[in-house]
């Protein structure tokens, strides 16, 4: 499925750097760099993706890097290549072996 063609979704490709805030009702797929506030239902950070800022999402899937304040109300998955730094708030968490998590964690 091509993520660029989805409704209510945003896709930031590899090599793209974005600063600002995004509010997407559905999905955000980030393969590039994102700096700022992000409110989204489902966030997917690809292996090359780097997200820094205040993140609010229901579901987060991290294969790349995610920094600062993160709130994942339902499920947060950190894949083996994923790196998460900062303050974490989550409903459920899953970390694959090799995934890196640094910071304060609390359950919603």
């Amino acid at each position: 499925m091509n993520p660029t063609s989805k409704q209510n979704s945003v896709f930031i490709g590899e090599g793209v750097s974005f600063k600002g805030s995004i509010n997407a009702p559905d999905e955000a797929v980030i393969e590039g760099q994102f700096d700022g506030d992000l409110t989204v239902s489902s966030l997917l950070i690809g292996q090359t993706g780097r997200v820094t800022g205040t993140i609010k999402a229901d579901r987060v899937d991290v294969k790349g890097e995610l920094n600062k304040d993160i709130s994942s109300r339902q499920l947060l998955i950190v894949r083996s290549t994923g790196k998460v730094n900062g303050t974490l708030e989550y409903g459920e968490i899953e970390i694959e072996r090799g995934g890196q998590v640094r910071g304060n964690m609390s359950q919603v």
Partner: protein, 170 residues
């Protein structure tokens, strides 16, 4: 006190051997183990060895402990308070309060550990609160972790509850 832990797994391992002596087929197994070099035996060997390995597998409680020799077990209902230091594995199903220094620590699903833990491999299925420093941390879905954990490799199953701080050791 500590000797008591050790004696538990020892007994568990001795039991099957004691049973094995009076039973005839088991004696054949013992002979077979010395035999393989002799070419005459192969017809009966495959029939006997699987049962022997199965028994050993059950004796190990079906856990992935092939390279782990005799874990010391703090069983359910047991409450330990103080300082604990050992080489090898400790399996906690009871309650442990204090300082622990060990190679491998497993907190079973009914186990509880509170305090300072220093180990290489740390499996949490039950509850942990306090400060832990380990190389390999595994948190399963039934686990509750509250506190400060320093790790090198980490894996957390869906459903686990983690409160506090996770730090990556350099």
């Amino acid at each position: 006190m500590f000797n008591k832990f050790k004696s538990a797994p020892n007994n568990a391992n001795q039991e099957p051997e004691e049973v094995a002596e009076p039973v005839a087929p088991e004696e054949i197994v013992l002979v077979k183990e010395e035999v393989p070099a002799v070419p005459v035996a192969p017809a009966t060997t495959p029939n006997v060895t699987p049962s022997a390995t199965q028994q050993r597998g059950n004796g190990m409680m079906g856990m992935l402990q092939a390279n782990v020799s005799k874990p010391s077990i703090l069983s359910e209902g047991f409450y330990f308070k103080g300082e604990l230091s050992a080489k090898g594995t400790i399996h906690v199903e009871g309650s442990l309060n204090g300082q622990v220094q060990v190679d491998e620590l497993t907190i079973g699903s009914r186990g509880q550990v509170e305090g300072i833990v220093n180990c290489k491999i740390f499996h949490i299925k039950g509850r942990f609160s306090g400060t832990a420093t380990c190389e390999e941390l595994t948190v399963t879905s039934s686990a509750t972790v509250d506190g400060h954990v320093v790790y090198k490799t980490l894996s957390v199953q869906k459903g686990a509850s983690i409160k506090g701080e996770l730090l990556l050791a350099k």
